[in-house]
Symmetry: C2
């Protein structure tokens, strides 16, 4: 059995490797080669923790396994990440445990890669202004990944707590891009691409604020009840997602589906665009929206890449198991 | 993170340790301190494999995690066990991965311990004849564990394939007990305790064959459609199980519940007997039946014991994860 500790991940897998893994797995999901198993998510009644598993199998790469972990709100006081993740991979031919991989950085990279994949395939080619809604830990990952897929000339940002906006300014500066904090009206009026990455339970950005031609990646909604944009915006946009079933139940589209404003049939797999079976954006004025819900197969894809690279670079720990 | 390889398990945990762990976890389940999460079970469409997870949390011991694995029918040709299991434990205070434990032998030990716990708490004290229905790999584990809880003077056995009965004879001989192969009528007429451990999809042993005072542990039915005894026998017996929800849906009681012959309310937790909140057997003539469905918490309980013993004996592999 191979062990790839959390501390090795940063030296193994970067944005390019994560992007390739996520683009490939979205394509495999859409072609039917890969599927996610049901998600387990439990409030365990201890340490206020939410714990669970996301799992799946990709017949094309033979990646089989799960990401286990969850959210421990008291971890920060212990100098630990509140979100804790570990990925376990199995040999699809025998069922034997194959690898244990630290999943914290991988989760950040795969989530950033998902919105980057949507930007590559759905944003206007001439997009110049990147809008960021949300300035938490994950926002820097999303911005860095996005910046590689269009020639952005400026970043604009908004956050519920303005004192955190310095993270966006610093990240933009690291990318050599000017930065400006804006209100949501200016966000909609100026941005060509918007990434929302919040844990909001009510709509932040609205259909009345968006302008034609915008691509929006909603990356924060992964639970029943969360919501980043209003249903009017969902109704105006051409909708894409990683997994339609999750989008309609726990993703950004859940409210519009529940209200009967859109149906599952209106939500398209991003993998279909990658595979060329959906034509994606069809005009310069179309509003495209990607609902990134996060699936177990993303975790298996980046963890498999990390294992291959760890073996290649000689940092994989091999245990006779 | 602690690794306890499969090959170390035999030197760490025996029947006594497994029995104690299983008796304690059944008690914790009944008192409400421990609960199992939903089971994931998938035919993955590769190598004819069935793959999945059983998981849960015990607030009393803080055991948190899952057993992952499944059934790979082609493994025998590769000199590997068809059933492959690995247990993953997490720190309930932080969510960090705590241990990876080989789960093949542990699964055999915890399944054997479950029927032994039922015999300790439900069989007549004067039971003399142990009946075994089924002679596969697991039957030897069940017989050895059972033999420690009553002064059995004889073992009788039946199997669908008679050529496999030598396993029962050899195991009985190892325990210093005489052995006889019998038909099912003689089984019912002579046995005081019966363990069925088959993968049957139709009833083998019948209500017309059982005699008063018998304790029967049905250990083979863990999936929709499987069945070891007929519904008449279920209707005649006082019913006990590890987990009522599983008993009524994927365990031996599923058919009688589906037919409306018994209801969930007729099925009692074995943990209630251990805790003294159910009085168990009430007469020498009562027929008691334990439906052992197998739950994730059993796996976590024996794996936790294995980790503690591995640390104590210096065979735990510690990896800086």
């Amino acid at each position: 059995m191979i062990i790839v500790p959390e501390k090795e991940i940063a030296g193994l897998i970067g944005r390019a490797e994560a992007f390739e893994a996520i683009e490939n797995i979205f394509a495999a999901m859409s072609s039917g080669a890969a599927y996610n198993f049901p998600v387990i998510r439990e409030a365990i009644g201890h340490a206020d923790a939410l714990y669970g598993f996301k799992s799946g199998f990709d017949r094309s790469s033979l990646a089989l396994g799960l990401k286990s972990g969850g959210y421990w709100p008291g971890n920060a006081e212990r100098d630990l990440t509140n979100h804790q993740s570990t990925v376990f991979l199995f040999d699809a031919d025998t069922g034997q445990a194959k690898a244990v991989v630290g999943g914290n950085l991988l989760t950040a990279l795969r989530t950033a890669a998902a919105s980057a994949v949507s930007i590559k395939h759905l944003a206007r080619k001439d997009a110049k202004v990147l809008g960021m809604i949300g300035a938490g830990h994950q926002s820097a990952f999303q911005m860095r990944a996005a910046a590689e897929h269009r020639n952005f000339e400026k970043v604009i940002g908004w956050n519920f707590h303005p004192e955190m906006l310095s993270r966006l300014e610093e990240t933009a500066s690291e990318l050599g891009l000017p930065y400006e904090s804006v209100d949501l009206t200016q966000m909609g009026a100026e941005a060509d691409v918007i990434i929302s990455i919040t844990s909001s339970f009510k709509p932040i950005f609205k259909g009345t604020q968006v302008r034609p031609g915008t691509h929006i990646a909603c990356m924060g909604t992964d639970t029943k009840g969360k919501q980043e944009v209003d249903v009017e915006l969902i109704a105006m946009a051409t909708l894409f997602t990683d997994e339609v079933a999750q989008s309609a139940t726990i993703g950004e589209c859940q409210h519009a589906v529940a209200d009967g404003i859109v149906s599952k049939d209106n939500i398209n797999e991003i993998g279909a665009v990658i595979n060329g079976t959906h034509r994606g954006r069809t005009s310069e004025s179309e509003i495209t929206l990607f609902d990134g819900t996060g699936v177990g197969l993303q975790d298996l894809a980046v963890a498999s890449a990390a294992v291959d690279l760890a073996i290649k670079k000689g940092v994989a720990i091999e245990v006779d198991f």
